[in-house]
């Protein structure tokens, strides 16, 4: 009965060079990470730096959105800094497992070699080899750049990159992750969400939509309740209708609350634009999600966006003391070196 944890995180054009970037010495002294890489490791492993913010359990699948690669042809092999970046992340995660008190026999990471998802961009899949494994059958494929099966074309922008792995415990049971980096909204207010929603409405046509134990996760640039008004004056939703938000993906759903903000602002806005949500001072839009269809779940699925800015703490004190709001600006500046999105974390128990 594995207890599983998945993290998807848009790391904004991440490369090996970016992973090695440093913070200001003043921020680094606060103890949340020596480099961007180290900061990411602390989040993905749920180390004590994020005690009471992130569950103290390493992720079993870490999906990186917006990973740099050479190449622009969808489905082509990756090149350039892509593999060196994934190698560094894997090595850093594995090195940090024992030093953070976790058992290397329970957690050990490897990555799947991705394919190009869009212009100079792909997604990374780092998985816990103690839980998952690629299909060892000769010729078996673990990563696919998926097409819309109706039109036999890749999706606009970045096409979904899909990984499939077997459970080590029971190889007959598989799990899929369809990594999403949707097109950004643009245009007038009533049609602003047309680009990302048009993309989402093609996801039911991808092969993964029909497969159980699939997670669509990443940066959708919209949420299920967003809509645009089409030429006929009708409201068009990403996955269904106003009455049934997942009508087009009938087995799927999300437990992430509506309006969970994930896009990170460049600077603090005070007072917060949404008086009911103090986080709106540094977060702006609810764009990231984890939409799933899973069978044999034991209990519910918990999906959350950890607040890595409002909950950041100064670890030079024991116990650590909150940095927000007093030093919120330096925390936001440092976070902007990591990404312009918050991660999304999904946890559940499953019978395999």
């Amino acid at each position: 009965m594995p207890n599983l944890k998945f993290i998807s995180w848009n790391l904004k054009n991440v490369s090996r060079n970016k992973l090695q970037k440093q913070f200001t010495a003043g921020f680094q002294a606060l103890g949340m990470g020596n480099t961007v890489m180290d900061y990411i490791v602390n989040v993905v492993l749920g180390t004590e730096v994020w005690e009471d913010v992130i569950s103290p359990k390493p992720a079993d699948m870490f999906v990186i959105i917006e990973l740099k690669t050479g190449g622009r042809r969808k489905g082509a092999p990756v090149s350039g800094s892509c593999i060196p970046s994934l190698t560094l992340v894997r090595n850093a995660l594995n090195a940090a497992i024992p030093t953070n008190g976790y058992d290397p026999m329970e957690y050990q990471y490897d990555f799947l070699v991705p394919l190009v998802a869009g212009r100079y961009e792909t997604m990374g899949f780092l998985y816990n080899t103690r839980v998952f494994r690629p299909d060892p059958t000769p010729g078996a494929v673990s990563v696919v750049a998926e097409r819309d099966q109706v039109t036999n074309t890749y999706l606009d922008g970045r096409t979904p990159l899909v990984a499939q792995l077997q459970f080590v415990q029971n190889p007959a049971v598989t799990m899929r992750w369809s990594a999403i980096h949707d097109r950004p909204p643009q245009g007038a207010a009533n049609i602003r969400f047309r680009p990302p929603i048009s993309f989402c409405r093609r996801l039911p046509n991808t092969p993964s939509a029909a497969v159980t134990n699939t997670f669509f996760l990443g940066d959708f640039n919209c949420q299920p309740t967003n809509y645009y008004v089409n030429g006929a004056g009708n409201n068009v939703y990403p996955f269904g209708t106003a009455a049934n938000l997942f009508a087009n993906l009938p087995n799927y759903g999300t437990t992430l609350p509506d309006n969970s903000l994930t896009s990170v602002r460049k600077s603090l806005v005070n007072p917060p634009p949404d008086p009911t949500d103090p986080k709106s001072a540094y977060l702006s839009s609810p764009y990231d999600n984890s939409i799933y269809w899973a069978q044999n779940l034991l209990g519910g699925v918990e999906t959350e966006v950890p607040d890595l800015i409002g909950e950041a703490k100064d670890h030079t004190f024991n116990p650590p003391i909150p940095l927000y709001p007093g030093r919120g600006r330096i925390v936001l500046n440092a976070y902007n070196r990591v990404s312009d999105h918050m991660p999304v974390i999904t946890e559940f128990n499953i019978q395999v």
Binding site: S79, I83, T316
Partner: protein
């Protein structure tokens, strides 16, 4: 001796200083201030400076570091530039804790603090420059280079890295990086380029990264996570003296170099086109245009060789300039100066076992006012051509 912090003396005039490393570091000083004129003399007290300095104290086995340097506060700007003065002790400590670069490799080690803070930055701002670095000088082959890291201030990963110019090496010069099996044995012997001959090609070390994991849970534990290098062949004349491949580089990452070395390779290169009338060999001015190449090398598991390229035209120079540079003289083609080549991207992949191209694509984007619609008020500013071939 008295305890002193930069914020004690400068915190009121420079409130953002409290958010920098200088808001944390405590110095032992004699007298009321370590700053005399613009000269600083004091001793960094690692223990009194709190948790953040614990890693450095354990790494170096020191409780204090004597430092000197300059402090100026002119025109509403505080500038601090300090370096350690016990560098032989620091070098010995680093050689002991990172044996990979110990011995004859490590030539020097020091600690440096650099800060620049504006008086207009408020108490919620960062300093403009805020660095607290560990600097090392290493000798490789016949040359030396600097590896730098910001000092690790908590358990976790940090990187010692450096970029180099003109550091000629032989592959055996890097054998120290993979002690068990020797680095030179990790290097590919068969590159898809006529420019590389293992026995004769002159190589340069362009970049070296050591990723390290530090833990202070029980004393100090430092392990090397990964060694990565970028080794290049520089200034290959493709079309003397206008077009150079500079560099053609092989990047190699070796995971767990001290235990179970696992190498991975990539190939990068930049083709540079130099301005007409200023062309020399080797080049002596910045190029007008560059074209970056990236390639994946075939391995035993995957026989695909893929190469892709990206055009960079930072000054938005016209197509006419490209032609002038290639001809090394003004050459009137009749193409307007305002026609610029914004993108010229290509990608090709080949199956090296079957010996055939498996995919090819190219995209060309030009921009200008092309005048296609005459004076109608509409015009085409950009057009692009793209072609994809996929087998």
């Amino acid at each position: 001796m008295a305890s002193w912090k930069f914020t004690d003396q400068y915190g009121t005039d420079f409130p953002a200083l409290a958010n920098s490393i200088l808001g944390i570091l405590e110095f032992d000083i004699s007298g009321s201030s370590p700053v005399s004129g613009t000269t600083f003399t004091g001793t960094l007290d690692l223990k009194a400076s709190g948790n953040a300095l614990n890693v450095l104290a354990l790494l170096l086995g020191m409780e204090s570091i004597p430092m000197t340097g300059s402090v100026t506060s002119d025109s509403g700007e505080l500038k601090v530039d300090l370096t350690s003065t016990n560098d032989s002790d620091i070098k010995a400590a680093l050689a002991a804790i990172i044996p990979l670069i110990g011995g004859s490799i490590l030539q020097a080690g020091s600690v440096a603090i650099t800060n620049q803070t504006s008086a207009t930055a408020d108490a919620e701002d960062d300093s403009e420059v805020d660095e607290f670095d560990l600097n090392t000088t290493i000798q490789i082959g016949g040359g030396t280079g600097e590896l730098v890291t910001q000092i690790p201030m908590s358990d976790g990963v940090f990187s010692l890295n450096g970029t180099f110019t003109g550091l000629g090496i032989g592959l055996s010069d890097l054998d120290f990086l993979v002690p068990g099996s020797q680095f030179s044995s990790q290097f590919p012997t068969d590159l898809p380029s006529d420019y590389y001959n293992p026995s004769t090609t002159q190589l340069e070390l362009l970049e070296l990264d050591l990723s390290l994991q530090v833990s202070t849970k029980s004393g100090i534990d430092l392990s090397i996570v990964e060694v990565a290098t970028n080794i290049g062949i520089v200034n290959i004349p493709l079309y003397p003296n206008a077009l150079f491949l500079n560099p053609l580089a092989v990047n190699i990452s070796v995971t767990s170099p001290t235990q179970d070395p696992q190498p991975q390779f990539g190939l990068t290169g930049t083709i540079a086109l130099y301005p007409a009338g200023k062309q020399t060999s080797p080049p002596s001015v910045d190029p007008d245009f560059t074209y970056d190449l990236e390639a994946q090398l075939p391995t035993g598991e995957d026989a695909t060789f893929i190469v892709s390229g990206t055009w960079d035209n930072p000054e938005n120079l016209g197509v006419q300039t490209v032609i002038n540079d290639l001809m090394n003289q003004a050459y009137d083609t009749g193409i307007g100066e305002d026609v610029t080549l914004e993108n010229f991207d290509f990608e090709a992949s080949a199956d090296t076992e079957k010996g055939e191209i498996s995919g090819f694509s190219v995209e060309i984007v030009m921009s200008s006012t092309f005048g296609i619609f005459g004076n109608s008020g509409f015009d085409v500013k950009d057009f692009s051509i793209s072609l994809d071939y996929e087998k």
